[in-house]
């Protein structure tokens, strides 16, 4: 299962890099195997119009588990604080500037104390050694790797690039990472797919397929409210009742790709309300957090660094050095 599935770039990057829409697109290009700029192009021709009108057997179609709704994750448990015997302490004060938690908020500035302590070796046990990689020459290993790399018939990882226009239309480009892609317009606001990692769809053939979603997404506004001047695309006419799409690029005879595209819309038909509600909840949580940070500007915290000379170098470290031995 993929842990992080939606890359809303403007929210995950660290400052101070200004995130223009163009920069987001460059990053999208790095994240996925194709350019998002191409995805913004208006469709040249409409090769196939396929509104989803017929109800499909939706049994078992859905998103397992919760959809991310902006509720903060439980923090990872902190390790037990170590007790040190301090041999020497150096403290200095310094001005620091840290990136804000949310882009657009003021940078976190302040003066902190940095304390460096030379301590005695606490004699921690070494972590267990890394597992030994079996030699690839062994046929059993090679067979196992080949089996693992083969996508199963009922599970696929899909890569999606989505440009959402006015929260009403999305130009979607997706594929299985093999280079073959399919693209088209959808009447779904794909922002609602953020927070969805894995979903399953039972197709018209009765097969239940599970998909894991890796998505890069950006918003565009044709009324000029976006930072970047975006040529207004020619939006296709799509069904207004229910999820619908039109394929504009790619091989529409490829069943897997079409199933994938269809499956996203089938999913939305079942889970759309929950996905939209989660998206709205994320927006509310985002705004609430932003308001809180504006009202309670964080201050940088003091830093304490403890270090020690090891009695014996760690086996893991020396192993890493040996692997990168000099030629």
């Amino acid at each position: 299962m993929i842990g992080t599935d939606c890359y809303r770039l403007g929210e995950i990057l660290l400052q101070p890099i200004p995130l223009t829409p163009m920069f987001q697109r460059i990053l999208c290009t790095l994240l996925i195997s194709h350019g998002l700029l191409a995805a913004q192009q208006a469709p040249a021709t409409s090769s196939q119009v396929q509104p989803v009108d017929e109800p499909l057997p939706l049994l078992d179609t859905g998103i397992p588990g919760l959809i991310a709704d902006g509720t903060p994750a439980m923090p990872a448990p902190l390790p037990e604080p170590l007790q040190f015997k301090v041999k020497r302490t150096l403290t200095s004060r310094r001005q620091v500037t840290e990136a804000p938690e949310i882009i657009g908020l003021p940078a976190v500035k302040g003066t902190i104390n940095v304390t460096v302590q030379l301590v005695e070796d606490p004699g921690l046990p070494d972590p267990p050694p890394p597992l030994i990689t079996p030699p690839m020459e062994e046929s059993a290993v090679a067979d196992g790797m080949a089996e693992l790399s083969e996508p199963g018939p009922d599970f696929q990882l899909i890569f999606v690039s989505a440009t959402v226009y006015d929260h009403a239309r999305t130009y979607v480009r997706c594929g299985f990472g093999t280079g073959e892609e399919i693209a088209g317009w959808s009447n779904i606001d794909f922002n609602h797919f953020c927070g969805v990692g894995t979903y399953q769809v039972k197709g018209s053939d009765g097969i239940l397929r599970q998909y894991s979603l890796m998505m890069a997404i950006g918003d565009e506004y044709t009324d000029g409210t976006s930072d970047e001047l975006t040529p207004a695309p020619t939006l296709p006419v799509l069904a207004t009742s229910g999820p619908a799409f039109v394929i504009t690029e790619g091989d529409t005879t490829d069943k897997e790709s079409m199933d994938m595209f269809q499956g996203m819309h089938d999913l939305y038909r079942v889970e759309g309300a929950r996905m939209a509600a989660a998206c709205q909840a994320r927006e509310v949580a985002y705004e609430a957090r932003k308001t809180y940070l504006l009202a309670n500007p964080p201050v940088p915290k003091d830093v304490t660094i403890q270090f020690w000379k090891r009695e014996t170098p760690s086996p893991a470290g020396m192993n890493a050095l040996t692997k990168g031995a000099k030629p």
């Binding site: 150096l90 200095s92 030379l118 921690l124 830093v303 020396m318």
Partner: protein, 170 residues
């Protein structure tokens, strides 16, 4: 997003002092996770090379840890930080053991400012920048005088000064 302590840490090798071009294949430093949020720093020492460890919390200001290592052997340090951003890098200088100015890794004075390498790193100074006239504690004694007096250049702990006044005349 709060990353795990040291998750953003990095390590790389810088070359200063008696500059000798160093190929990438010689950059033999490892940085591995230890237990309880600690990290281990290891490298294989090279003969006639003096090593310093630098730290930073912002990749802009670099300071020296109060340790010096030299020559061959497997070197290992452990570290832990309260910050989620902490950076370490190794800084070394190649030396000529036949050079009469070389008094060992700790007693030598690489920047020739009158303060030994060890005194500099023990007090948070840069052993590669002459800062003999600096007076970080503002007590009127510069760093060299503090070293000579055996006082802490970062604290106003000057020894008591005896003032003798001799009055002569009618």
């Amino acid at each position: 997003m709060k990353s795990h302590p040291f998750l953003l840490s990095c390590m790389f090798v810088a070359v200063t002092g008696a500059l000798t071009p160093v190929s990438l294949s010689e950059q033999q430093v490892s940085f591995t996770a230890g237990l309880s949020g600690t990290w281990n720093i290891e490298w294989m020492g090279v003969l006639n090379r003096v090593y310093f460890i630098q730290w930073s919390v912002d990749l802009l200001q670099w300071n020296y840890l109060p340790v010096i290592e030299a020559d061959e052997g497997d070197k290992g340090f452990g570290a832990v930080s309260s910050s989620d951003k902490f950076f370490i890098r190794l800084h070394y200088a190649d030396i000529d053991p036949e050079d009469p100015a070389y008094l060992g890794p700790e007693n030598s004075d690489f920047d020739k400012d009158g303060m030994s390498n060890l005194f500099e790193v023990m007090n948070g100074f840069n052993p590669f920048v002459a800062d003999l006239t600096a007076d970080p504690d503002g007590d009127g004694l510069n760093n060299v005088h503090e070293q000579t007096a055996g006082t802490n250049p970062n604290a106003k702990d000057n020894p008591a000064v005896k003032l003798s006044v001799v009055v002569t005349g009618d």
